[in-house]
Amino acid sequence: MSLLLALINKAVESGIIWKILRILPILSKLLLVISVALIFGIVPMDGSFRNTYISENALMPNQAYSQFRETEWNIVRGFRNEISSLNIWNLDVRNRIVRNWLDDFGLETDLFQTDFNSPFSNGLKSEVLYGVLNGQRCDGTEAMLIAAPWYNSENNYNVGGVSVAVALTKFFTNWPVWSKNIILVIPETPGFDLRAWVESYHKDLKITGGSIETAMILDYAMDSDSFDHLDVEYIGLNGGLPNLDMVNTAIHVAENEGVKVSINGMQSFSKPSNEFKNRLEHIAVGLQKMAFAGLEPLKGHEAFSGWRIQAITLKAVGHGGNSDITTFGRIPEAVTRSVNNLLEKFHQSFFFYLLLSPKLFVSIANYIPAAIILSVAYAAMAIHSILKTGLLTSNDKFIDIQSIEAFVMYAVSLTVSILYRQFVALIQNNHLSTQQQGKFILILQVFFVFTSYRVYVPKSKTKALMQAMAFMHFSLALTLLLALNFGLCFGMGVLAYPMVLAVEKNTSKLKQRMFLLISNPFVAIFLMYSFTQDKWSWDLFNIMISTWDNIRCWTWPVVSCSWLVSWILVVISCNGEDNVTDEPKRTKED
């Protein structure tokens, strides 16, 4: 302790602290660079990642011989013929016919009606068919779930997925090994109605089968007998990831069956996994999917996040490859049998990871520093702004009209940001198409950036205080997010950084406004999203709000309660005159 004290005294005497305080803006930029370099440079580098392994030994993937083979081949083909001929019928006819089959297998079945009535998804009605297969050795407290939507996320008729799911269920009924219930769910789409079913399962569903441990969504949207490779999607809503064991088991099983596996739609099996660029791409796509989870077309596994369910989507990609449709069935079979072995819950601390390839991962300790450093970068700017006010160094009164003004502005921008949703709902009612609404919101941001100085110009102390509050608010928001949703936290921190550049002293007016414009949450998210989707997606804001309303995806409230607040404060503070002199600091130096 005394050594530490001596060190601190030494630091104070040598004036190094004052030197550090003076270069805080540079330090902040440096921290940003370090943070980005950490994620995109260090983490994909050799030595910071590990090979994946099964942490829970009871899972034993592929220890048992998979039985869903040629004997089932004709059954699958029969179901497939029937189901592909059902394509012309309505949902309720399809559901009724499949329900009859399930009843014949001995499942308890029911239909669940969903109905959305929020302003952002007008009156969506749907019906979900589900059935519970009671495990012979089971006490009814735990369940495994297999879902196959009628139409997949690209709106293709999921003929293979549904037929495999039905055939698998029939196949499962013949076995006496199940120590967990098996639930089969067939929704119309993998989006809102599946989520509504899950929500209802945990509230008031008629037939239930205990707490759902795992969920697999089968997506085989083609008529062909064989497929090229398997794609595993696993990133859930609000930064929730399934346990790494679940993903590992699926990948392990699939590779054992001789199927090529990709994750997140990255077809990287043609490239060697020891290539740096390959891993970098995986990390970038993984982070992007994490940040935009819920905004992109829903794959199905998103519906299960938030209830401690380990959910993945298995998607067969490509016509006519080496693997046939029963191979696709063997993968959920083997995973189900592995999970069936599980006596306890999935292992702790296997929930935070980034996958660099199907078989490589980084753990939380290696990538979380990037988010912390980002948060510190904003905190440094906040400290810099506080020092500019001179409150800490001089004995001025803290509370005067200027500081009260700053607090009032903070409260106002907070209120405005929270009420932004109501504002967007107002636009909604004015007979504009969703595209026009999106354009209108974007134009509004531009308008605000270039005209706000006509309304209110803060004094120098107010300005500095507002900046301090804005950056502190944002830093706290990033801290809050870093363990919840790393992708969103990192993306927000990087995309909002031009805000910091805008408050610098020697930027020209135009440059400053441009920085402010590109750091606007709506503009930045819109550009980033359009870039990743490869098309202008003007209806993004509607999607954000409707996902918040219907499936509790936090992206909208998080962005509007943290980024928007800080951004409004920074824009208003940038209007202020720049005659701040560093008087308190100068006296200090003397």
Binding site: I8, V12, I17, L21, G240, L241, G306, R308, Q348, S349, F351, F352, A379, I383, I386, L387, L392, T393, N395, F398, I399, F407, M472, L476, T479, L480, A483, L484
Partner: protein, 405 residues
């Protein structure tokens, strides 16, 4: 005259926004569901939460034995007689009175906090406000502590003030047994032996009387409230340091460690009493902070009181590391509910995450405590060692020594 009216208007606005508008808005936006459930673990323990209070009221009304009440019988019987819609206004009234006594408290001459500043500090403290919104018992405890400090300070004005002080500290002790050390510290206010004797006798009598009445109402409170609080019988996770130890510990060692932990939280009562003899006001806050750090069921509401007292009763110019202190406390307060949510709701984190944050929180609290002690000792050193001539010089010297990080 004009200032009178502006003040009146101002107080009117203050009362309407704080006690009517904001709670109403929160209710309108369904804050209970949206937000307050996430910070529930910070503000509530089984012994002070409003939920258990409602439970107790129900038990006393419909099930007479009430053998598992977790709140003090007198506190419950106060609320039994108030209709449920008015409960919040009872808390609001107490909060208002707390503010009144807080403003009337004389602050030490070395600190130049004006009346207005004190008012703003209390008003803008989000922790105190959230504590009020949560309707925890600490609203009452805080009120009685501040009232006791006020009457102790002004015991010369009226001879009954000594009794009032002792009675209110007795009530604070009655509500939370861990405040018993404050009774000793408050003796430092009184200069004459006679008053000390009076105060002690009055305190003991009042406390005994309170316990006796409670015993007549419901004899189970000794087991359910006092002993389960002191012996940590309700093992819920909270922001204190105890629960994690006792989830890991074997049964045989528990009693020993309960003794050790309790001893640890009380160990500084006599040293603080002796060392800060001339600063009873600050001494009581220091002791309160220490006990909050190490008691079994601390809450963030207590931090609200500590920070308010810290900012208004201590010389902030002397305290260094203000920013580090602030950042540490703020970030731990943000991360505590997040990690609790990750552990309990989402299931992806575990208890270690939450416990690590409580450690950070306690470190922040320890920094606050160090700041308090340092400011006090520095002032004492100046007042003893420097006469008036050198005083000015010292002040400039003090400024130079500042490290504002």
């Amino acid at each position: 005259m004009a200032s009178f009216y502006t003040n009146g208007l101002f107080i009117f606005i203050y009362i309407t926004t704080r006690y009517f508008l904001f709670p109403h808005l929160l209710k309108m936006f369904n804050a209970e569901q949206m937000m307050l459930q996430y910070i529930d673990v910070l503000f509530n323990t089984p012994f002070i939460s409003y939920k258990t209070l409602k439970e107790c009221i129900l038990f006393t009304q419909f099930k007479n034995n009430g053998s598992n009440l977790n709140q003090m019988p007198l506190y419950v019987s106060l609320f039994v007689n108030i209709p449920e819609q008015l409960h919040f206004y009872m808390f609001a009234l107490i909060d208002m009175l707390t503010l009144l006594y807080f403003l009337k408290l004389d602050i030490p001459h070395c600190v130049s906090t004006s009346l207005k500043t004190k008012f703003w500090i209390y008003l803008f403290n989000p922790l105190i406000f959230l504590n009020l919104i949560m309707r925890t018992q600490f609203v009452f405890t805080q009120f009685f502590i501040i009232m006791a400090l006020y009457y102790c300070q002004n015991y010369k004005l009226n001879k009954y003030h000594v009794y009032k002080a002792s009675i209110s500290i007795a009530i604070a002790t009655y509500l939370d047994i861990y405040n018993i050390g404050l009774a000793l510290i408050c003796l430092n206010f009184f200069k004459k032996f006679n008053q000390r004797k009076q105060s002690t006798i009055c305190f003991i009598t009042a406390l005994t009387l309170l316990y006796f009445i409670s015993y007549r109402i419901n004899s189970n409170f000794i087991d359910n409230v006092i002993l389960s609080c002191v012996l940590f019988k309700e093992q819920y996770p909270n922001i204190g340091l105890w629960w994690y130890f006792f989830t890991e510990m074997f049964q045989e060692y528990r009693n020993f460690f309960k003794f050790v932990f309790n001893g640890y939280s009380y160990i500084f009562v006599i040293p603080v009493f002796l060392r800060f003899k001339h600063y009873p006001l600050q001494g009581s806050v220091i002791l309160f902070t220490w006990i909050t750090m190490f008691k079994p069921y601390p809450t963030v509401g207590e931090l609200g009181f500590i920070l308010t007292a810290f900012v208004s009763w201590f010389d902030m110019n002397i305290i260094e590391n203000k920013l580090i202190m602030g950042l540490l406390v703020m970030h731990s307060l943000v991360l505590l509910p997040v990690f609790y949510h990750l552990w309990i709701t989402v299931g992806s984190g575990n208890s270690n995450f939450f416990y690590a944050m409580t450690l950070v929180y306690v470190i922040g609290l320890a920094l606050v405590l160090l700041g308090m002690i340092k400011s006090l000792l520095y002032n004492e050193y100046i007042s003893i060692n420097c006469d008036d001539k050198n005083h000015e010089e010292d002040k400039s010297d003090k400024k130079l020594n500042l490290v504002c990080v």
